[in-house]
Structures are given as structure tokens and as C-alpha cells.
Symmetry: C2
Subunit: 410 residues, 2 copies
């Protein structure tokens, strides 16, 4: 299949690739090595880079000058801390401002955009709601495009400065960035979005499942930093898991890996409903009882209302929470057993209330699995998915770095 817009997907495994090789390949590798070092930390003196990369001094300097010429690095005045001996060293740093990336969280009703520099430092945020009624793909595209442009403007950058765009949607997305066939109206969004953003602005678009992006975010800057085997449960209207195994996101054949909403064990052990809906249902049941949930009318029962009532000591609401704990524990048990992650992070709409559920879940887990994962609540708030989209975009930029021609930046 021809990709259009953002070319997604992975490079061939090394050693199998075909095509001409030559000494220039060596330069490509060394440049990538040096750039990776600069990106991680820096600025570094040449001597430090020699130490870090194992390359010769002459090589490091040549490569750095190459990178400066190409816009990825800059030579900086050596910071002179205290007296020093010897000839002053040249220092080079990564140009985090050589471009920007955009992270988009495209929800059913709301779209959030984040713009960051190439280190991932946030430059601006924007969001917009989809006007009620206008839920066509076209209307959606316009909102998404508009929100991205607004955030860009806010960051003082232009569309041509965007090196990659990560996009999270609440639908299965396969390894190649395609929405699985048959997943409601998101499907039409698939090719449409990547193509539209490419046509309008020339952007590389990386489409990905929202829970997967939340997992990337937790691993990058959240509760799962540094862990290579993690799952993130995004619980709200939907219930989805983003799974990282050995540092890589799991997609499955059609991108439906982790789509727990699809799990139906008929006896009710684990069900298809999102946590929010369950809270509503069970809360409504409770409200209908004489003991009922602080006198709420059934129509007033929302997930938030139930959590609040429980917080206020309402017994019926507390009972609902117990049932929620039980269900979450079962889901986490399945995850623990099948994938043996080191940590499961609870995120999504449930996050604010999850701390309250945590002790119950932790207590129930050892009875359900022999390899219980640690459990933590996400601290990233509502920006987790957009942040993960940034991470995805940055990874893409890093991978393509030396093939990208940078825009002139003022």
C-alpha cells in the first residue's frame, strides 16, 4: 500500500537491507551516534563527546561541524567555570529550536494540541471543541487543523517549522498508522487526517491509539520512567490499555491489542463497558434503592457524582467503588498474567478518583494472579495522550534526523 503524508512504519532490521553501501554509511552511523549523545544531554565539549562515543577527536570534530552545517547542532561559547588550564575546548550542543513537533489528542468531543521544541519542552497548548451536530470527517479535520495552527501561532512558529505531528485517537491503530477497518467513523479519519495535514501543511503525521500514547507519556515523563515493561490503563468512557513490552509498543495484527473494551467474558468477570458508564449504571441502581446515594435523581448520576458521594461518606456510593475496584483488579490481573509488566499505571478520566481505589485493587490482585504488577496512578493529568503524541513525534524525528532537511529558522 502506498503511504501518503506521514510515512509511518519501521526501518528494515539491520543486516537484511539492500542497497549500495560505502564509506559514507560510516559517517551516517557516527553522525547518528554523536547526535544521539547531544540530544540526550549536552552541551558537551569535544573531549566529552570523545569519551561518550568512543570516536576519535578528529572524527568528532568533523562530525560536529557537519551537524552544525546541517542545522542540528550549534557551537557554543565554552562556559568558563573557574580557572582552567590548557587550550579552551570547543563545545557543541543540540539545537532544540531547529524545529518543533506537535502532539494532538483528538477525542470524541475535544481536541488538544501541544507544541514542543525538539527536546520536548512545551512551548504552547491549545484546545478546541467539536461543534455539536457537525461530526463529519470534514468538520473534525477543520477543528484539528485549526487547533494545531492556533498552538503553533501561540508558540511563535510557522507550519513549515513542524518536523512531525503525533496524533492520538480513541480507536485501534495498526503499526502502519492505519485505523482498523470497521471501527465506526474513526475509520474515515485515518487516511483523511494524514493526507489532509500533509496536503495543507506538508506535515508528517504519525497516527496512534490514545492509550498507546498515554503509555509512551508515562514511560517518558510519568510514573513509569525508565521502565521497559509497562501497561497503562486508560479508563473513562472507554477502557483501553497501552502496552509497552521490552520498550516497544504492542499493536497486534490490526492495532487492536489492548482494546479491553472488546473483552467479554460472559459471566461478567470482565466486561465491555468503560469505567464511567459502570459508575453510572451501578450508581443508578444504588440511587434507586431506599438507601440511595445522597438523594440523587437517576439522571444526575455521573461518574464524578458517584466519586464525590463516596468521598462524602455515602454508603451506596462506596459500594459502587468496591465493585469498581473488583473489576479493575480483574483487568489488571489479566494484564499481569498475560504480559507480566513491571508496573500498571491507571490513567484517563478515572485517574482523579483512582487513588481511592488503589488500596482495594492492590489487596485483591495477589489472589487473582501469581505475577501481580505494581500499580500507580497517573500524575500526568489530561495531557497524557498529547504528551505521548509528542514523544511519538520526537522518536520519529530522531529516527529520520539525518534525512530531514531543516527549515531556515530565524
Amino acid at each position: 500500500m502506498q503511504e501518503r503524508g506521514g510515512v509511518q512504519g519501521r526501518p528494515e532490521p539491520a543486516g537484511t537491507e539492500t542497497g549500495p553501501v560505502g564509506p559514507h554509511v560510516v559517517r551516517f552511523v557516527t553522525a547518528r551516534t554523536v547526535l544521539a549523545a547531544l540530544r540526550r544531554g549536552g552541551p558537551f565539549t569535544v573531549s566529552e563527546l570523545v569519551e561518550l562515543t568512543g570516536l576519535t577527536r578528529a572524527t568528532v570534530i568533523a562530525v560536529c561541524e557537519d551537524l552544525v552545517r546541517r542545522g542540528w547542532a550549534e557551537e557554543q561559547d565554552p562556559e568558563r567555570t573557574g580557572p582552567q588550564r590548557g587550550r579552551p575546548p570547543r563545545t557543541f550542543g543540540f539545537r532544540a529550536d531547529a524545529g518543533v513537533v506537535v502532539g494532538l489528542d483528538v477525542g470524541a468531543h475535544k481536541t488538544t494540541a501541544l507544541v514542543t521544541d525538539l527536546r520536548g519542552d512545551i512551548l504552547s497548548t491549545a484546545s478546541g471543541d467539536l461543534p455539536r451536530g457537525a461530526r463529519t470527517a470534514q468538520a473534525r479535520l477543520d477543528v484539528v487543523s485549526g487547533v494545531a495552527l492556533a498552538a503553533l501561532r501561540d508558540a511563535g512558529r510557522e507550519p513549515r517549522h513542524v518536523l512531525a505531528v503525533g496524533v492520538g485517537v480513541a480507536a485501534p491503530v495498526d503499526r502502519n498508522g492505519h485505523v482498523a477497518a470497521g471501527s465506526d467513523f474513526w475509520e474515515m479519519f485515518d487516511v483523511g487526517l494524514a493526507a489532509a495535514l500533509f496536503d495543507r501543511h506538508g506535515w508528517h503525521v504519525l497516527l496512534e491509539n490514545d492509550a498507546n500514547l498515554a503509555a509512551l507519556a508515562e514511560q517518558w515523563r510519568g510514573a513509569a520512567q525508565g521502565l521497559d515493561d509497562v501497561a497503562v490503563l486508560l479508563a473513562g468512557e472507554r477502557l483501553g490499555a497501552g502496552i509497552i513490552e521490552s520498550g516497544r509498543l504492542l499493536h497486534g495484527r490490526n492495532g487492536a491489542a489492548g482494546e479491553l473494551a472488546f473483552l467479554r467474558l460472559v459471566d461478567g468477570a470482565v466486561g465491555p463497558h468503560g469505567i464511567a458508564q459502570l459508575a453510572r449504571e451501578w450508581g443508578a441502581e444504588a440511587a434507586a434503592q431506599p438507601t440511595g446515594l445522597a438523594g440523587l435523581a437517576p439522571s444526575e448520576v455521573t461518574a464524578e457524582a458517584v466519586f464525590t458521594a463516596a468521598e462524602d461518606g455515602d454508603a451506596a456510593a462506596a459500594a459502587v467503588l468496591v465493585r469498581l475496584e473488583d473489576r479493575m483488579a480483574r483487568v489488571i490481573a489479566v494484564l499481569s498474567t498475560l504480559l507480566n509488566p513491571e508496573l500498571v499505571v491507571l490513567g484517563g478520566a478515572i485517574a482523579p478518583a483512582a487513588a481511592r481505589l488503589l488500596p482495594g485493587i492492590r489487596a485483591a490482585l495477589p489472589d487473582l494472579t501469581e505475577t501481580p504488577a505494581e500499580i500507580e496512578v497517573s500524575g500526568l493529568g489530561g495531557e497524557a495522550v498529547a504528551l505521548g503524541a509528542i514523544r511519538r513525534a520526537l522518536d520519529d524525528v530522531a529516527e529520520r534526523s539525518l534525512a530531514i532537511a531543516l527549515p531556515d529558522v530565524g
Copy 2:
């Protein structure tokens, strides 16, 4: 932790590695490319290799002569099929006899060994039983070592010809080839086996979970050929899954990924017992009834007996099969939902009877998950794990090829 014996684990992701580079790296890459082509097919003429690899004729010849000198390839007389014009081409082929690999399936009672050449063509088989009573690690090591040596002798090769040994055990094994702490006596087997086989014979040992190896085998030569997202259910006394996602085996943090035996959903949806035990239990229940399972005494109820009785039209036995179908369907539903494989292969002791369960499982699955996988029964028989061990060993050899000094082969 210091590795001893077989160094297991993966290379650094390209681009992050450190150390001196130079033009010789280019030769390393080209040599690997050519060798990979030869390994896949061959023998090839130089012109074919030029086509296959994208390298220049001069380069291909230089690399091939290098590989011949190092023992990995051999120049062959061009097969002259029909009249041909022009100067006869030089042809090179992979030396599948440059060494051998050993695949071991170390079960609780029985150890099976396979010896193959470097293409994976089987040269010999051997097996041995663990003497009852002597279940110490030492006794086990002696049996394993003895079986491997017997198979080698049978293949007419010597221990020094062994380039790698794959070993499958019925326990969680992490990415680094270590048995998870706390998994009964297998634990002591971990370091012991790799170290012992290395000390005695200098072999590189790759330890891996048996279900994982079965998955490799199915993907290589079984029902899952060419598929990148597959799960293999090894059902017998234990219940374990080997999961391949995007072409890679899943291990999880401690190697316990897929250890379904550890899953306990208390309401019985999915349970800890192996299929064989369930058949016994349920069969015993049925036998205790007046209608009872062809008059078997409870002590005579084995999994095989139940399957046989059902085959003979016994109603109680058939009912047991229905319950088995139900349970298998639930397990496969969980796998399908969480990991979205393209195919689930049923293997292990249940395989001979699984064809009979298949229609029932297939019928139940769509009600349990929205992303049902295809289901097939393994056709590899009892050698699946040993064959997967061979595949694992071959992969290791391929990865290390150009760093391995080959033994002189007569």
C-alpha cells in the same frame, strides 16, 4: 550480572552503540548482507547476489571470498543446466555443514534432543527419561548432557562442532535467559545448566520458556508460517502461551508473560489448571455419576481416556469436552483481545484431541471478543519445543555469525 556460558540478550539498538567505527564496519555490514542472502536461499551466482544485495560485483566477490576463507560459504561448481552463453559464473553457497546446533526440550520427566545443520535440517534425534527419584539438579544435568551427546554422536558430529544450544523448560524465563526467581526447582536449573554445558563442552546455551519455543517452531515450520502476530497455546499438564508480536517473542518483566497457569479469575472463567488435569477432574465427576463415562473407575480417568470415551460416543465424556471447549474459548478470547494475534495455534498434549474441540471453540469465540483470532491445531507433534529450540539457536548463530570462529570440520 555477569553472564556465564551462553551470552544471551539482544544487541544495542543501532545508533546508540559506542566504540570505534571505521571502514571495516562497512565490510561487516556487507558481509552480513551477503551471508543472509546465502542463508536464505542459494547457492547463488555472483550476478544473482549482485541483484539480491544491491552491491557491486567486485564487492560481492571480495565478500564471498572472505566468507569462504572464514568457513561460512563455499564456492561450488556452477550447475550447468542447458546451453549457456558467456563466461561461466562463479557460484557460492552457504555451508550448512559448517557446524551444528542442538535443540533441547527438557520436560519434567523426559528430555528430547534434536541436532540439525545450520539450515535446520534434522540430522538426528535422541531422548532420555529422568530416572524416578533422582530429581536433583545434578541428575537432571547428567541426563540432559547425555541426551545431547547421544544425539550428536548419532549425527556423526563432535561437541566442538556445536555452535549454539537452545533449551526449552516449562518455567518462566526472562529475556536474558534466567529462570524467574521462585519457580520451584527449575530455578536451580537456570545458571546450572548454562554453566555446566559451557564448562563441559564450551557450548553457548540459550534458555527459553517451552511455550515460547513452540511459538517459534510454529512460525518457522508449523501452522503460523510467515505470520508476525501469533500465539501458541501449549495445553497439557500446564497451560502456557508463547506469544509473538511483530515477529518478536514477548517475555514481560520476569519472563512470565503468557504463563496462563497463573491466571485466576475466581469465578472460574479462566483457571489455573492444565487441560489434562481438568479433563481428569471433570471426567472423575462424570464417572461418579450413574450415567458414568463408560464405566471407568475414577483412578483410570486420564485426559486420554476421556478423549477416547468421547470419541466412542460416551455422553458424559462429551459433556466434559464441551466444558473444555468453553474454557479454551475463554482463554483464546483473552489472548485475542489483549494481543490481537492473527492466529492462535493449539499445541501440547491436547493437540491430538484439539481438532475435535475446534468447531466448538470457533463458534464460541465471536461472542467473547470483537477481535477473534483464527485458530489452528499444531501439526508439529511432540517435537515442537525442540524444533523451536533449534530455531532459537539458529537465530543466535546468525546474529553472531561473523564473530564466531568456526571449528575445522572434516
